[in-house]
Symmetry: C2
């Protein structure tokens, strides 16, 4: 198939480009380097150096003989995006081009407005470009489990049949998120569901939990093909951050009581999930929703795992329960269903000690590059500005 | 109280300014003249001439001795809005500054993007300005009954307790709208609910049905104080449109089967509802939601009422069931609850023959101004461009 990947420079975007390319698909990757530039501006660059996309595509082609077409541009620019759609007529588009950080969206009005506008206008533009260039193009949009929040009822996969006063109907599962970033994903869902019903486009929404890991078969082929590995508070995900903290002899930053339970998955499993969704597309006029996680942990459980493995590897890992800069429940019910992707064929890579050791081993190689100042600065959910970054 | 009205030039905005001013409140009105300019661009200007806001405020002051402060500017410009909030420190802000037309939002990508950006960024800016200038400021936001769509279960007032597999929780009532405009109002709700929970601001969301009428006690004091009365497909609401069609001897444009049921209310009742909400504010940290309608009708019932009254007044009113340019159910279950505002003290002005006759009498005075070409042009929910307006 021909697949267009928006946000191709990202933690998930670049490994996805290689994953499809390796399997014989025709890959086009787009990025505006927002995250790359924001990481420079906020002094929180990724741990491992990553050449720009054009360079990475060259290295990939040299090793594999397979070409990935790269265009640097902005998905919120409709003229640019439409031109790409008309030129390539993709069968599938994967939308990773959203501002992906909850803390970033909470820094101040300007960054909140950027998040809102970037995430919603890019999604709108994809819908219009699909309608204009190829209505059968399958949109795969990355949602987040965070859209659901932490309700006191079981979390179904996207939908809920409601019985009320003797009548029933089926609706999107209730969503109430805990950051503006997560809220923009809810807003995306509202919008995509509207256009699915109105124009008969087809969409798969992958409600993903936090991803961890650094390794994929393709990324492991050359040190310059690694994904962007962030360990900072703005762009890093929790398990990756804990491993870097352990290696840096920095007490693990557990927010509050640490009882916050979430669903997680390995980077390798994100690749599988997107691939399974793309190769088994949904019908026109349908919004298919999967909960894209493979297991659930509390933050304390993750910290304990990192402690155990880190200590076995000779580190002296400590845990620091710090004041929670976010507003979220620290003890709550959490029971999400996540069987849809297993039914499509997902073979999970669970968080074993071996997996965790692999991340430690990779991080160790770049130990000297760790910027301790980037690890935690306490972007408060109530704060107006992050010092030094207004 | 000091009240800030965003969208003060609108069909509801200007009468609201006068309503609060008349009752001794200190009123500040803001508008960027979007609707005024768009109506010129689309050749669908309102039936009755309306001086600009500064002129109308002057006329109002001359008649009543009461001053309404007007600032022409854009609520999506955060610097402008924040300056207004800091200067006036309003106790209440009423958000009418959204792009209010469903058909407009469906014309093309550019108008969809404008709607999305205008509606969401203006709402975000209000939230930030309230946080920055006066956290106790009560935000009254106009939602729409259209957010709920036409579910097969009874529509409660904003919230729904859900029992699922032996556990329960309370959520926003499920929302799924039938235009991008209506969808932006859902997205607003998502966002306001997030900031209510996170920052403890206070919000009343008025889920309004289509408004009809042209008369308020204040507007009736001078012909130059009338609200913008639109009868075109883009900015006009259905009952107002039918009356103009009847007077113009234009067959009433009933879309499809005409079984679409909605909740409606008189312009005078919008004034009451906003006033009751403002003077009986909600607590900080709470999102209060009212369904702001006074009775429900199918489109056929409205058409029949306009026929009956029109024929009695000597017109020969015909009904034309035209192909529905929208995508909506033409026969459906509809049972909304709307008791909250009655409990606050609303005294409804129902749609009697006398009320309808009053609208006819006013329209008749401007009969020669009716632009028949503006009445219907068939903006299709599936259309990419409206001819002549790209």
């Amino acid at each position: 198939m021909r697949i267009l990947i928006l946000g191709a420079d990202g933690y998930l975007g670049w490994p996805t480009c290689m994953y499809f390319s390796q399997r014989g698909h025709d890959v086009v990757g787009i990025d505006n380097y927002f995250r790359r530039n924001a990481a420079i501006a906020l002094d929180c660059e990724p741990l491992l150096p990553t050449p720009n996309l054009i360079q990475r595509a060259k290295i990939w082609e040299k090793i594999t003989g397979k070409r990935i077409n790269i265009h640097v541009g902005d998905a919120t620019n409709y003229a640019f995006l439409l031109k790409i759609f008309k030129e390539y007529k993709p069968d599938t588009v994967v939308h990773y081009a959203e501002q992906p950080s909850a803390p970033y969206s909470m820094i101040n009005q300007e960054k909140a407005a950027f998040t809102l506008q970037n995430n919603l206008i890019s999604t709108l533009n994809i819908v219009y470009a699909v309608k204009e260039a190829n209505r059968d193009c399958h949109i795969i949009k990355l949602g987040t489990m965070g859209e659901y929040g932490t309700p006191n009822i079981d979390i179904e996969e996207g939908w809920l049949e409601i019985n009320h006063k003797g009548k029933k109907d089926k609706f999107l599962f209730p969503r109430q998120a805990s950051s503006l970033y997560h809220t923009t994903k809810i807003q995306d869902t509202d919008m995509l569901w509207f256009y699915v019903r109105t124009w008969g486009i087809r969409v798969t929404d992958l409600m993903q939990g936090p991803v961890y890991g650094i390794s994929t078969d393709e990324a492991d082929r050359d040190s310059q093909l690694v994904p962007n590995f962030h360990y900072d508070e703005v762009f890093g995900t929790v398990l990756n951050r804990f491993v870097v903290q352990a290696v840096a002899n920095y007490p693990l930053t557990v927010y509050g009581k640490g009882g916050q339970i979430r669903g997680y998955l390995n980077l390798k499993d994100t690749m599988q999930c997107v691939y399974l969704s793309a190769t088994q597309p949904v019908k026109n006029g349908e919004l298919r929703i999967f909960n894209q996680v493979t297991e659930t942990f509390s933050v304390n459980e993750l910290a304990d795992k990192v402690c155990a493995v880190g200590n076995k590897l000779g580190y002296n890992v400590n845990i620091n329960h710090i004041e929670n800069p976010r507003k979220e429940k620290e003890e709550h019910y959490y029971n999400p269903k996540y069987t849809g992707l297993l039914e499509l064929g997902l073979k999970p890579n669970y968080l074993t000690d071996d997996e965790l050791t692999g991340i430690f081993r990779k991080v160790e190689q770049y130990k000297d590059q760790i910027n301790r100042d980037a690890i935690f600065r306490g972007i408060k959910w109530s704060a107006e500005t992050l010092s030094g970054t207004a």
